[in-house]
Amino acid sequence: MTKKTPGALDRAVARMMDLDSPTYGDERERAVFMEDTAFGQTLAIYLGLAGAVVAAVLGQLLVPVVLLALMWVPSVASIWYASRRGVDVADMGSRASRKTRAGVAASIFGGLVLTCGAMLYTLLVGHGLVPVPEVDLTGPEHEGVLRSALTGALVGGAGGALVGAVISARKRRRTAAEPAGDDLDDLD
């Protein structure tokens, strides 16, 4: 920990993260949780970038900007968080092998260049690199289709949530019942 005076942002982050919460479990569970969070964030960054490239190629202008912002904000937040605690993420990155650094730089900057290039093309030409056929579902003749689609999505979503809840409950019960049985074998 550094000696920097915690500001309002630090307090907000501390409240949001609640690092003293027992939810984090013991030290191994906490370490694994932090690793999987980092994995999730890394994946989100690459998916956001890929989404931005695809949206830009299809001629979108706002969607790529939103996706890039969503990709950029967590990265900056994590760098800020680390620096407040005396860890220089940029310095850590410089310790990676040349091959790893080249791969990351190619992915990130390549994606950014592709996105910006495709957006620029759309601005200059008036349509995307890959033209998307216009689909108009606003007319009265399409109202039934939209209503059916919406109903299907809602019913499907509710069904999925129910199945998820049942699976989750069954898993919790199985986990709760597990230790006693294994413990008996443990001393055999």
Binding site: G25, D26, E27, R28, E29, P179, D182, D183, D186, L187
Partner: protein
């Protein structure tokens, strides 16, 4: 002295597991005593997780052993014997 590696002291050969069995303590009981989950005790015994000094101390205390006995081993027996004998008055 080097920390025990998963390859040479994991699973049934784990000194933690051996000590725990000698003392007739289950993994769940050891986990409770050390204040961690049973999965963490399993991971430590299997050599999949190297605990912090604090957790190592708690495990050692729960098993009435020392951290050295449970987590540290000599590089080889000859070196240990030489060092030990050399240190004797």
């Amino acid at each position: 002295m080097t920390p025990r590696q998963a390859t040479d002291a994991a699973g049934p050969r784990s000194p933690i597991r051996r000590r725990r069995r000698e003392r007739r303590i289950t993994q769940a009981e050891l986990a409770d005593a050390a204040g961690v989950s049973r999965q963490t005790i399993i991971a430590v015994e299997q050599g999949d997780y190297a605990p912090s000094v604090y957790l190592a101390l708690r495990i050692a205390r729960a098993l009435e052993a020392t951290v050295e006995e449970l987590f540290i081993e000599a590089d080889d027996d000859a070196t240990t014997e030489t060092t030990t004998e050399g240190a004797r008055p």
